[in-house]
Every structure is written in structure tokens, then in C-alpha cells.
Symmetry: C2
Subunit: 238 residues, 2 copies
């Protein structure tokens, strides 16, 4: 029963600057781009030799934002509407006995920079600043289990919302896209069509205005019937 | 750059009693059965509520047998014949900066016993005594990446050997199958058809007799041309 000491090998730099709104699983928001920056100690060019030939990689990471929150034997997965309790080992909840997360992302490019090795990834679902404990290639012939089935989440998520933009927000998207070299409008559609509101809010009339921090801005939006309306992108500094 | 302290939540009880011969990935040897025994602290019935509805689970584990061996930036994967070097993050090698392993196994049953919760699994590739740090459901809609490709191991392993048994070994398989409630003959076929010998041995005439510890016996075998001949199963006590 000996404890195991792990140390970060890299840190994630991501568009997600707060937990609210982060998709519940990777791959749902393909436009969510980020960087996995290896620490100097691990930034030896040889350490990633051959990695570029893989389309996807596993990130084993620490749920750092909630690492000090105590875990409970059961959790309420958002996908079940927040009412049903499941055992923590039957979910991918971040509140676990060991705060270990597992996420598969698309590997877009590898760069060797003066400050270290950077892996450019997409389909990311990790908070900015997440410590990465391990990087492994996704091996289709073992990780892609043909016969796997089951559980509370057999299908892709629930019905998607349509997403619309105010004239102001449309303009701001263009500016932010140039600033961050990413299609911010598409990113917002992919995130907001999943409807990140808590389940109890989705079930009722809701005139609340929501905010979500991405990059250096706060996106403000409301949800009316089945449509998400993006109102504006408010600068927060970076 | 803060260290992360993890503690085992369970230990694996497996047919594999030494590293030699363990398949290089899970799922290749479906008859490899084992138990994941949750520690008393985590053996609350609620902790696995809903887990039985999943066909497969992830085990995040510690490579305990090699945890104190220092890692190198490159490794030589057996699948490449042992000559070519790849970056450690481009492989699933056990010699890693953090000794973290990731393995998907089939969940056969869950039992609540007086000494704790036991998950019965198959397709296991873990050494007996492996500490498990986390258990997660395999979610087909995220973990089964349709578009994933690449790397040095795109296909299932190389050509399989045929496996034959001496008359003595045939009889011993029947006895051991009864003792361990598993089809030992099938298990040996599945393991040995992968040819666990080091690559340099496979490339030449080889009259060496090999041994491999499984359960309470040592299986003795030789490889002639493309055929593995199982000679006998020698008791080792348990």
C-alpha cells in the first residue's frame, strides 16, 4: 500500500480558462486547440521521436483545479440530468480517489522551440494550466475496442442547440480569430451547441445571462427555447 | 511543478507471475483472467454503482516491477524487432518518466465479498500484484476514435506461431484448468502463439528451452521453426 509520487512532465495551454463550459469529453469540440508544453527536463528532442506518425495521443493528467476537493463514493453525471447517482468508478468524474484524468486528443504538430518541445493538439477538453503526467500514443489496434458497449453514455451527447450571434458578437469573433489564430466563431458554436448550462436550468424557462472565459475574453450568451444567442465577447486581458 | 501523490485503490491478482511472456498489449490473450481487488477503504458498494453496465474498463496502474528503474529518452519497442529506437512518449513502454500504465480490459463480473469488492476481468496484460490507481469506464463514443491512425503498430501483431503440446503437457493442462477454473490450454496457446522470445532469438536457430511462470506452475517450451512445443508444466507452489 505504498504511495506513488508523480511529477508533471508538461503543462497544458488551452483556450479554456475556467471549468464552466468545458465539453464533458474530448473530441466533441474539434476547434478547441491547445499546446502541451514539455518541461525543460523532458524537452529532449529524442523523447518524442516517432510520435508525429500517430494521429492521436493520450494525455494522462491531474485534475488540478479539484485535486484538493474530497471525493465521494457516488457522483451525479451531468449526462444523466444531474439527478441520478453513479459510483465514481463508473464515471469519468473529476472528483476521484486519485485525481487522474484520461483524455485522447488529436496531435496536430510537434515543435522544438527554444523554451522546449511543444505538442499542438485539438479536440482538447482540458483547463489551461493542467499538469500532464504522461503522454502515450493512441494505438488503434488496442485502444479502439470494437466490442465495447454499455453504460449511461452509449451515444454522442444529447440533442444539440442551434447557436446564433449578435452583429456585435460576429464582429468580435473576427477580431479574436485573428488574435488567437483559431476560428473563434466555430469554437463557440461547438461549445455552446452542447448547452453547458446545468441540467436543472435546461429544464425550465431561463432568462439568465451566462458568461464563460475563453482565451482573453468572456463570452456572454443566453439560451431561448432551443437556441443559444451569443451576445458579446468582453475583453478580460490575458 | 508540484509533485502529485497517488495511492493504490486496488491490486491486481493475475495469472502472470513474471514479466516474461506477458502480451505486449491487453486484449490479445482473452483467456488471461484476473481480479482487481479494491482495498477496504474503497470497497463501499456504492463506489461501483452502474459499473456493471459497461463491457470494458480502463485500469490506470503503476508499473511497479520497474518503477525504480530509471527511464531513458528512447526505448526499443519489441514490435520493431528490438533494433529501432523511438521516443519514450511515442511508445507504451514501462520505462517512463512516471511509471503510469493504461490498459483496457473486459469486465466479466463484480462481486461484493467479505474482504471487499472484486472486479473479475479478462484480456488482462498485467503482472500479479500490480497496484491500480484508477478505474474508469471505457466510453465507446469517446475512447473509440474512428479516425485514429498511425505509428509503428497499426495492425495486430505479427504472424502467429502454431502451438503444440506434448502428451504430458496435455494432461497437466487438464489438471491445472480444474485447479484455476480457466482453460489453461487455450491460455497457453494465446500467449505462446505471440512468440514471447526476444526478437534476436526469433531470427535464428534456437534450441533454448524457455520457462514462464503462470499461476502456480512454470510452463516449459521450445520453439522449432514456426511451431511452439509445450513440453511440460512444472509445479512451483503458489
Amino acid at each position: 500500500m505504498s504511495d506513488v509520487l508523480m511529477k508533471p512532465v508538461a503543462y497544458v495551454h488551452s483556450c479554456y480558462r475556467e471549468k464552466f463550459g468545458i465539453p464533458r469529453q474530448p473530441g466533441l469540440v474539434t476547434e478547441a486547440r491547445g499546446e502541451v508544453r514539455l518541461l525543460p527536463e523532458f524537452s529532449q528532442p529524442d523523447i518524442v521521436r516517432g510520435l508525429a506518425s500517430f494521429s492521436h495521443i493520450w494525455l494522462v493528467f491531474q485534475f488540478h483545479a479539484t485535486a484538493n476537493v474530497s471525493w465521494k463514493p457516488t457522483v451525479r453525471p451531468p449526462r444523466l440530468g444531474g439527478n441520478q447517482r453513479l459510483g465514481v468508478f463508473a464515471t469519468r468524474s473529476m472528483f476521484r480517489p486519485n485525481p487522474l484524468g484520461l483524455s485522447v486528443v488529436r496531435l496536430e504538430a510537434i515543435q522544438h522551440t527554444v523554451s522546449g518541445i511543444v505538442l499542438f493538439v485539438s479536440g482538447l477538453d482540458l483547463l489551461d494550466g493542467t499538469p500532464v503526467l504522461d503522454i502515450k500514443p493512441y494505438l488503434p489496434y488496442v485502444d479502439h475496442v470494437q466490442t465495447a458497449s454499455g453504460g449511461f453514455a452509449p451515444e454522442s451527447p444529447e440533442q444539440l442547440r442551434s447557436v446564433e450571434f449578435s452583429v456585435l458578437a460576429e464582429k468580435q469573433c473576427i477580431l479574436k480569430s485573428a488574435r488567437w489564430s483559431v476560428d473563434v466563431r466555430l469554437l463557440l458554436i461547438q461549445i455552446l451547441q452542447q448547452d453547458p448550462r446545468p441540467a436543472y436550468r435546461q429544464a425550465q424557462e431561463d432568462d439568465h445571462q451566462y458568461g464563460m472565459r475563453l482565451y482573453d475574453f468572456d463570452v456572454r450568451w443566453v439560451c431561448q427555447a432551443d437556441t443559444v444567442m451569443v451576445l458579446e465577447l468582453v475583453n478580460q486581458g490575458d
